[in-house]
Amino acid sequence: MPLPRRRITGPPRRGQAPGIRRPTDAATPSRDVGAIYLRSLIRAQLRLAVVCFVGFALTLASAAVMIATVPTLHETYVFGVPWSWVLQAYGMYPLILAFAVIYARGAGRNEQRYHSLEGRP
């Protein structure tokens, strides 16, 4: 009973949807753009943290497996202590520090980029 829709409505309006400008865009540009910058900063920080964590976990795991499985490490000694013990006791801390420094630098850089973007008119 009801007529098919396309007889009533006009032809499809091409080119409209993507090009629409919202009034808010023109009214409060800085706040909107600032929010976008901030959201991208949060994403960048999370990405950096996850990458650092996964990198650290993989490095630690492979170091631990190497220390545990390479037989020469247990058969050679330094000051009477097997290398495997020495590496396990002292070797992991430099890894932790390295990832900490990499992250702290990266996070600082992300924030700097955010500042320079936000400061732009």
Binding site: A35, L38, L41, I42, Q45, L46, A49, C52, F53, F56, L60, A64, I67, A68, T69, L73, H74, Y77, G80, V81, P82, S84, W85, L87, Q88, A89, Y90, M92, Y93, I96, L97, F99, A100, V101, Y103, A104, A107, G108, E111, Y114, H115
Partner: protein, 485 residues
Amino acid sequence: MSAPLAIAAIVLVLVATVVIGFYGLRISRTTDDLLVASRTVRPWMNASAISGEYLSAATFLGLAGLVLLSGTDAFWFPIGYTAGYLLLLLFVAAPLRRSGARTIPDFIEARLDSVGARRVTSLFVLIIGWLYIVPQFHGAAITVNVVTGLPPWVGSVAIAVIVGVIVAAGGMRSITFVQAFHYWLKLTAMGVPVVVLLLAVGTAPAAIDPALIFPLESGPGGQDVYRTVSLLLALLLGTMGLPHVLVRFYTNPDGASARRTTVIVIVMISAFYMLSSTMGMIGRVFAPDLADPATADAVVLLLPSRLLPGLLGDLITALIVAGAFAAFLATSSGLVVSLAGVVSQDLLGGSVRAFRISAIACATVPLLVTFLTVPGGLANSVGFVFVVAASSLSPVLLLGVWWRGLTASGAVAGMITGGVAAAFSLVVSGFGLVQHPIAVAAVEQPAAWTVPLAITTTVLVSLAHRRGVPARADRYISRLHAPER
């Protein structure tokens, strides 16, 4: 061993602590009106203070004892404690500094806009803090007993009274400088003995068979993969959930300096852990007879007099005793301050008098627990505290900083599920209720399943109550991550 020298060392540490506390450089870390002053705390000073508070009896005495007892397994403990700060740096250090919250319950309340979630968080902070103080008191009991021959309870009572009185009097409340002093004292008290002992044994002809002292099965090759991974997960995540850690980040001027501070903390505690591990290995060579759960924690105290007869040995022992007492004092007073703050704010209305009463109560409860429990290896009992923290508070903190969908009901459900699961594991393993080796490993090192359980519960319950997402969640999270100008 000379008891008078050791007692003199203990008294000296106490006097120095009180004097620096009352008359030294006063830098507030608790009152908002002194925030401007706290902005002057440099990362190096702040990092010393954080490290001073963090290095507890478990690492000062327990680590070397565990190396003696079980070999390279023990090294994972300090690696985990240090890597815990890496995780803290990666995910929460700067955002939590910017949150303006001084305690975990403050953060949860502000983030989730819920007093109920705050109360549950406070309860967990209290439980974790008390559990963490107990090994400190056990450590004091062992130290006093070993070096003076007095009964063990004297040590625990003495440290409880001192901490309760100092905190109630306000002597430790606002002083970054005291904690910083304790770090350098502890580093000296471990570093000097290690160097002197190494020099002494370097000249002594020790006929040792390395294969006997560092056997293959106690080495890295003999480690259980599940237990190691589970322990590491607990230590890594647990650090950020400890009650006395977050408050220290508040003294940083901004997020960037919170990150710098954390990096320096990693350097400082690593240095201490390397020394302490060395002490454990010296113990394996020269004190294998102490390798028994009842005596291993005393190895650091007994080594110097064995290797260095006479006055030099006594002096070195006195130095170690001083460091050990700095460890008990710094950690337990830091914890009592945090806990008393929570108790007085949540239960008693938050006046100064309420704070004092809470401080006494927060030192008494763990003392009673100390009497009821048997010291079962300091490093391991602290390990359990990390499991509880990692399965209750840490998941909620992490999600609170990064996930806007977190709700109060999700946080409460997650904390309770994780906490109950951890407690259940402790009871089951404590009473030996399971026999199957897989089940035994699962309850002795439960973090590998309790942490995912807590996170899953938190996320699922939050998703089921989407309407519970606080209206300000987006704004609050933006504030956590927006760098200061």
